[in-house]
């Protein structure tokens, strides 16, 4: 991309540019940081002083090449150890799309970071080293992305230059992964042969792999269709904040601020307020000082109701004939994120949409081995970075949907009440 392109990109940022959030998974050995460095460099998202700093460091370390991985390893201890220990967010744009990368470390002890990065991603990018093929780690990454219901997955087969750009090796990895993916929930899969170090099929087409007819990685990222991933049918509006100006000009104004989780809201819609079950009509929807005719995800708006019903933070506005049933018995997959294990009988704080309560761990049904998908039903606890199926009883009813239907109303976090730390991430299977 040249300077013209950079100018066009910069001007489009404020126009109708699209957004794609993607999560990358892989270890330093897979060349993940190099790939991200390459995407930033070839899309002209890296500035001269950043590149100079990296060139100087590479030279000081005695490398005979510029280590693009140094661009992304942010914290000092990571630079010293040469590993990525936390989720880092990176930004770049092309004329049609802005990208937010959640860059997550690949090692098993960092499962919690990958879960974190995947939670907001539209697309997951898994890297494998062509010389090694699929490893336990790459399978684990695909499983996590599937559990977090990331709708699009790309398997980038990296280091093709080190296997003489062999089609046979690529085909073999692709076949093996496609076979494995049938066991998972991956609605959309693309497999792309690349060399991050040399730039083949990252932004520019490879001249060494004419047997590959598919898109480059960048072309795929720019064109993958994400708008239809949203649910525009089931209206869910968790009430976040009650707007009451009490000023002379807006004396009687009472609006409910929140972000549309799913569905489309319109003035005139018959709605129900949960958990009370009171019904009303949408009188108007405000976006700052304008009244709008429709609100859809992920807009932050203020909804006004026709009747003076009691609505507060933590409530949900849904359609009369399409609303979740308030439930206190929750069956969920939980990723445990702290060293002290999760045990039956434990009590935790729970945050779900804008609702906060307490949860009792009624049962741990099984621990999922994310390498083999084996369900270990003998387990009595979940250790750090482990994922399992858990039954919870909550003090307040949750206004939830299955995570497979709705990533916003189907997710929750668990908080240790003594330390205040987020210790678990939950994805709801069912509620009753």
């Amino acid at each position: 991309m040249g300077a013209d392109n950079a100018l066009e990109t910069a001007q489009n940022v404020g126009r109708n540019m699209d957004l794609l959030r993607f999560a990358t998974a892989g270890s330093v050995d897979d060349g993940k940081s190099t790939l991200i460095g390459r995407l930033l460099l070839d899309s002209k998202s890296i500035f001269e002083d950043q590149l100079e700093a990296v060139e100087a460091t590479s030279e000081a370390k005695g490398y005979d090449y510029t280590d693009l991985a140094l661009l992304t390893d942010g914290l000092r201890s990571e630079r010293e150890q040469g590993i990525t220990i936390d989720v880092a967010y990176r930004y770049f744009a092309t004329p049609s799309r802005k990208f937010i990368i959640a860059d997550t470390p690949g090692h098993v002890q960092y499962t919690r970071n990958m879960v974190t990065g995947a939670s907001t991603a539209d697309l997951g990018l898994v890297l494998v080293d062509a010389r090694q093929g699929l490893t336990e780690q790459s399978r684990r990454h695909a499983v996590i992305l599937s559990l977090l219901r990331v709708p699009h997955l790309v398997l980038a087969v990296n280091k093709m230059d080190l296997v003489d750009f062999s089609q046979e090796i690529f085909d073999q990895i692709q076949a093996e992964f496609t076979q494995f993916a049938t066991k998972l929930n991956i609605p959309d899969l693309a497999v792309i042969p690349i060399s991050a170090l040399q730039g083949d099929n990252v932004v520019n087409r490879s001249e060494s792999m004419d047997w590959y007819q598919g898109p480059t990685l960048m072309h795929h990222l720019e064109n993958v269709h994400v708008a239809s991933d949203r649910d525009l049918v089931d209206a869910r509006f968790p009430v976040q904040y009650v707007v009451r100006p009490k000023s002379d000009e807006f004396h009687d104004y009472r609006g409910y601020g929140g972000m549309v989780a799913s569905g489309v809201l319109k003035p005139g819609d018959e709605v129900v307020v949960l958990p009370s079950g009171m019904t009303s009509k949408i009188a108007g929807i405000d976006l700052f000082d304008q009244e709008i005719t429709e609100a859809f995800p992920p807009m932050s708006v203020t909804v006004r109701l026709a009747d003076d019903v009691d609505v507060s933070r933590g409530d949900m506005i849904a359609r009369v004939n399409n609303a979740p049933k308030p439930s206190q018995d929750i069956d969920a997959m939980v990723c445990w994120m702290t060293t002290e294990p999760l045990r039956k009988g434990q009590k935790l704080a729970i945050k779900h949409t804008t609702r906060t309560g307490r949860a009792l761990v009624k049962d741990i049904q099984y621990r999922l081995d994310i390498n083999t998908l084996h369900r270990d039903q003998e387990t009595k606890e979940l250790g750090v970075n482990e994922i399992g199926r858990v039954q919870l009883r909550t003090t307040v009813p949750l206004l939830c949907d299955p995570y497979s239907k709705n990533r916003t109303t189907g997710s929750f976090i668990l908080i240790d009440e003594a330390t205040g730390v987020t210790v678990g991430a939950g994805m709801i299977n069912s509620a009753s």
Binding site: L75, D86, F288, T302, K351
Partner: protein, 304 residues
């Protein structure tokens, strides 16, 4: 505004705006005593605009805190006052000068005013008992910031522990605190420099005039163009001259460099940035240049 489309698409800038409004409302609902840290720079002005939208037609339900280094650009203070007056907000000014005088921070003669802001700020937060402080930090600014959460936990000493951050999933933010701790909140974490400029242009909001091209008496020091002023006289060998410049960031005027530029509108600034070869901080902020880990060190101590 283009919020309503037949295909229900939301542009990336509208998505960023929605996310930031969500964060403001979440904090206002869950924290007892939030405050917005206002530097007068473009990022903090965008924050104020987003806060205005989040609570409209109600007033922004928290005050604004500014750390006054004593070396602030007068144009920046003027813009600050216009914003605060228009929105009817309470402004708290924490003065570095006074913190030095009262011994809250100690001047060793080597440390910059920027560094003294840390102690001044932490003292103001403690004195007023603020539990959440909004900051205009963006993750695209610097490598250490790339890993910072939207809700960034600070211990009772105001310190950031980068290796012990709480996981942050979906849009579920965890605001739990113990007594004496507080949370830094970064509602524009996911914005880039270009997003900020486009948003200012689209919203037509006031920013300090020094962001636009103007004539100024400047001199060169350490490869940066600095403003000549009574606080910042030329040293021997340095010579001031009139140049056509603008500032890409605003801060302590003894440390904040400007760039030669004829960009006098937002569109011209955007075009200039698109072809710029240096990131905004590296080019013009003396305080980030000391070491590769400079920002990380200051953040750990409690910097914005």
């Amino acid at each position: 505004m283009n919020q309503t489309h037949a295909d229900y698409r939301l542009s990336q800038l509208d998505q960023l705006e929605a996310e930031s409004i969500h964060i403001f409302r979440e904090v206002a609902a869950e924290f007892e005593k939030p405050v917005l840290m206002f530097s007068g720079g473009k990022d903090s002005i965008v924050m104020l605009r987003l806060a205005e939208k989040a609570f409209y037609p109600a007033k922004i339900p928290f005050p604004v805190l500014q750390v006054d280094t004593g070396y602030d650009f007068p144009e920046v203070l003027a813009t600050r006052d216009n914003w605060v007056n228009r929105l009817g907000l309470r402004l708290i000014v924490a003065s570095v000068e006074e913190a030095l005088k009262n011994g809250v921070v100690v001047d060793d003669g080597k440390t910059s005013r920027n560094r003294h802001q840390i102690g001044t700020l932490l003292n103001a937060i403690e004195e007023e008992g603020f539990t959440a402080a909004f900051g205009g930090g963006r993750r695209d600014e610097e490598k250490a910031r790339a890993k910072e959460r939207v809700y960034s936990h600070r211990d009772e000493f105001g310190q950031w522990d980068p290796k012990n951050q709480r996981p942050e999933l979906w849009s579920l933010y965890n605001g739990r605190l113990h007594a004496g701790e507080h949370m830094r909140i970064f509602p524009i974490s996911n914005w880039t420099e270009l997003d900020v400029w486009h948003y200012i242009g689209r919203e037509g909001i006031e920013i300090p005039s020094i962001y636009f091209s103007h004539q100024r008496s400047v001199f060169e020091r350490d490869g940066m163009l600095l403003t000549e002023s009574e606080f910042n006289p030329c040293k021997p060998g340095e010579e001031a001259s009139e140049r056509t410049v603008r500032f890409r960031t605003v801060g302590d005027l003894t440390l904040t460099g400007c760039v030669e530029s004829t960009a006098s509108t937002i569109d011209e600034i955007i075009d200039e940035i698109a072809v710029a070869r240096l990131t905004e901080r590296g080019a013009t902020r003396g305080d980030d240049r000391f070491s590769e880990a400079a920002m990380e060190d200051r953040k750990k101590e409690g910097y914005f």
